[in-house]
């Protein structure tokens, strides 16, 4: 080591502030945001499983929390995030094969992801209320 420092000020990935905001950019960011939200959201299914393992009182307790307005809102957000991230991830997997990387395709993919995730989530919640009991 000669003590020579490498040049500083090299760009660090990712630098978000320098790009024009486009729809595809937004959807890319949303994939990461949903991933991070799902990360902490995993607390919910794990807590629910633990409640089932612990006994009927805990089961009723956790279920009653999930059944409140706030609980339903969180579950709705969680399901939307999961479905959106799944579709967005599917898009990534298609890109990994080298397909769909042209500008027209990425625009279509971005739109399909958001339209698909909203419709699927609404469909799931229609099923939830059609099955009643919640």
């Amino acid at each position: 080591m000669t003590g020579t420092k490498p040049p500083t000020g090299r760009p660090l990935s990712p630098h978000l502030g320098i790009y024009r905001l486009t729809f595809t950019f937004l959807m890319s960011g949303f994939h990461r945001v949903t991933g991070a939200v799902l990360y902490f959201g995993m607390l919910i299914p794990i807590a629910w499983l633990l409640a089932v393992a612990t006994g009927p009182e805990w089961f009723d307790f956790v279920n009653s929390w999930l059944g409140t307005f706030l609980g339903r809102l969180v579950l709705f957000g969680y399901s939307w995030g999961l479905i959106h991230h799944m579709l967005g991830g599917f898009r990534h997997l298609i890109w990994d094969t080298g397909r769909g990387l042209d500008l027209v395709s990425i625009e279509i993919f971005a739109r399909a992801t958001i339209v698909g995730s909203v419709s699927l989530t609404v469909a799931v919640w229609l099923a939830v209320y059609a099955l009643g009991g919640f």
């Binding site: 991933g35 990360y39 299914p45 499983l49 393992a53 999961l82 799944m86 939830v128």
Partner: protein, 126 residues
């Protein structure tokens, strides 16, 4: 050699030559997560409004319990790699970065063990 800078020494050697395994596992867990998501959503729909005994019986059935263990392990593995990527992308201070990376591992292992423990307890407990 004496006069070469650290940067000069590594130039031309290419990247770190490791890391593709992480990328690969991220893809494998992504693919595995797709059917598991359908399973999780389907199970949730089935369990809407179910009472305690029904939920227990469902979770402990021969096919459901192992599948749920898969959900827990695959989802957590995938999200742990993903969060590590987010941390190294945005957290530049070494102290905060290492603290976050340690938290990431502890959070994942804690949730994973708790989830698997719960599923096994439901399956084997009386």
């Amino acid at each position: 050699m004496k006069f070469r800078t650290p940067l000069g020494k590594v130039r031309g050697l290419g990247a770190a030559h490791t890391g593709t395994d992480v990328f690969w596992i991220q893809r494998l867990t992504s693919i595995a997560s797709i059917p598991l998501t359908f399973f999780l959503v389907g199970s949730s729909l089935y369990l809407i409004g179910a009472d305690y005994e029904v939920a227990r019986a469902y979770i402990s059935s021969v096919f459901v319990a192992p599948a749920l263990v898969l959900v827990v392990i695959i989802f957590l593995w995938h999200m742990c790699i993903g969060m590590e990527e987010i941390i190294v992308d945005y957290v530049h201070s070494p102290t905060v970065k290492f603290a976050s990376l340690i938290f990431n591992i502890m959070f994942t292992v804690f949730l994973g063990l708790t989830g698997v423990y719960a599923i096994l307890k439901i399956s084997f407990g009386t």
